[in-house]
């Protein structure tokens, strides 16, 4: 009988199993599924770049290779979400409808700061049955500088210059800390151009795809500038 390592405690009272203390506990149904994947966003003066892989998984199964984790909410901001895909869809639907109502009532699209606060309140409204979503909201602020807001599952948020969420978070954010901030480097060479940053993003996803089973297939990159949005798709490992 195969018992996964992380479920040993359900079957044996102590870690070292012996025949006298086997108990079989039924798995309680859980409303949550982790569809995983990795998303990241980087803000620079004049643009914001958001990237997410397109693999949707459930445990060891790949459900699809073409699922987008990015959603453009207004002309200037994008929501990138890792976690449960169903909750991402529900959250996206709420935000799209609420922002459409905002536009009808105010005759102007909501600013990125407004959307950030709205998202935080919506996440907190489910404080006791959370959306299983780890969000990044990336957009252009009033001065057309790129800003990124990172969230936890219940809505606490903070403005950052770059953020990573998802199963590859630990792998990728360390690389970005090194490349974009130059922590502990004596000769800091911070990337200046958009193309340099795109190269770093592709490298990050390649690294994540190598070492994280839930990241791979394709990486979808959206670049928002004051003139419009550009979309790039690059392939990643499919295994």
């Amino acid at each position: 009988m195969y018992i996964p390592v992380n479920e040993i405690h359900k079957h044996f009272k102590t870690e070292t199993p012996n025949m006298s203390n086997i108990t079989h506990k039924q798995d309680q149904w859980s409303p949550y599924h982790d569809n995983s994947g990795t998303v990241l966003a980087i803000g620079i003066p004049g643009a914001v770049i958001v990237a997410g892989d397109t693999r949707l998984s459930n445990g060891y199964n790949i459900l699809t290779r073409d699922a987008t984790k990015l959603s453009q909410l207004t002309d200037k901001c994008i929501l990138a979400t890792a976690g449960q895909y169903a909750d991402f869809i529900a959250l996206r639907k709420f935000l799209q409808q609420r922002l459409q109502l905002y536009e009808f009532q105010n005759e102007v699209q909501a600013s990125t700061q407004t959307v950030a606060h709205l998202l935080s309140r919506e996440l907190y409204s489910r404080r006791f049955f959370p959306y299983y979503t780890f969000n990044l909201l990336a957009g252009l602020d009033e001065n057309n500088h790129g800003v990124v807001y990172g969230y936890d599952a219940i809505g606490s948020y903070d403005q950052m210059t770059y953020g990573v969420q998802g199963s590859g978070q630990e792998l990728v954010v360390a690389v970005l800390d090194n490349q974009l901030k130059g922590y502990n480097k004596i000769n800091k060479t911070i990337p200046q151009t958009q193309q340099e940053i795109l190269d770093i993003i592709l490298d990050c996803f390649s690294c994540a795809a190598e070492r994280d089973i839930h990241t791979g297939d394709n990486v979808e990159i959206l670049i928002i500038t004051p003139t419009g949005t550009q979309r790039i798709i690059k392939p990643l490992r499919k295994d």
Binding site: Q28, P31, Y32, D34, G83, S120, R121, L123, Y124, S125, R126, R127, F128, F129, P130, Y132, F134, G150, D152, A153, I154, G155, S156, Y157, D158, M160, Q169, E170
Partner: protein, 275 residues
């Protein structure tokens, strides 16, 4: 589930809430319903369920002295053993005369302190005078008592300036509200208390107080794994609050304090014997 509306607390006179009172029915949910209690069990060790690992672990401190109140905080947010951010803003600017600090669950503190800010502004518009620090902290206490045992995690300090002076209150998710002169909250609070209690005097000057606050936070970040990042310092005086320091890296402070002790980093200062 709370069966009273916390927005009726703190009003100067008895007041029947009218339906046309749109200001009190803003989009904020007044009572997130407590359901699915199994999700709020104790946090498992080493990461466990990602949903229960909200941002925890911090050091915040505040003390009253002759020139007002000093608040000093670190800026680290951890999710389990992963550092989700080193640049968090743990002092929340409620309005021009009130500050709140964040410890425990970041989302809980951010949300309820924003709710408090909304309430303070509404009170000011309706009654023509600012809400006192005592009343503002009591309003927050009332809300948290309503959510007692539901899994909220907040250990915040409310500090502000009103007509009767500068006051510091500690509020936590059990419904405790304490007025005091020295508080430190968070996983690194024990270390900060040691430094604070050693050098605190009411008659300190502003510079001495800022130095003490920075030092206490530095020592807490040095020994507590869940605290770190940068130190932010705020001063509350009779005209409101001022941000004294927006972010001093604790790593820089470490080398600064070491230099003050005469250590230059050439290796053998402690004269350690090889094992």
């Amino acid at each position: 589930m709370i069966d009273f509306d916390p927005s009726t607390f703190g009003l100067a006179h008895t007041y029947q809430k009218e339906d046309k009172d749109e200001i009190n029915t803003l989009q904020m949910p007044s009572a997130p319903q407590v359901i699915y209690r199994t999700l709020n069990g104790p946090t498992q060790t080493n990461g466990g369920n990602k949903l229960n690992n909200f941002k925890h672990g911090t050091t915040t401190l505040g003390f009253v002295f002759k020139e007002g109140i000093l608040l000093a905080v670190d800026s680290r947010a951890s999710m389990g053993s992963f550092l989700s951010s080193e640049q968090v803003r743990k002092v929340i600017e409620i309005n021009e005369y009130l500050l709140g600090t964040m410890a425990g669950g970041a989302a809980d503190c951010q949300y309820w302190l924003a709710y408090l800010a909304n309430h303070c502004r509404t009170y000011e518009l309706k009654n023509g005078s600012k809400l006192s620090v005592a009343a503002a902290s009591k309003f927050l206490q009332g809300i948290l008592i309503g959510y007692k045992n539901s899994g909220l995690s907040m250990g915040c300090m409310i500090a502000g300036s009103d007509l009767s002076g500068q006051h510091l209150y500690y509020i936590d998710n059990d419904g405790m509200r304490l007025k005091g002169d020295i508080f430190s909250v968070g996983s690194g609070s024990t270390y900060a208390y040691g430094v604070l209690d050693n050098h605190y005097r009411y008659e300190m000057s502003l510079n001495e107080a800022v130095e003490l606050g920075i030092r206490a936070i530095y020592h807490a970040t040095h020994r507590d794994t869940a605290s770190g990042g940068v130190v932010r310092v705020y001063h509350i005086h009779q005209n409101g609050w001022t941000k004294v320091h927006d972010g001093i890296d604790v790593v820089d402070l470490h080398y600064q304090f070491a230099q003050q002790k005469g250590l230059v980093g050439d290796g053998d200062e402690a004269k350690q014997r090889l094992f």
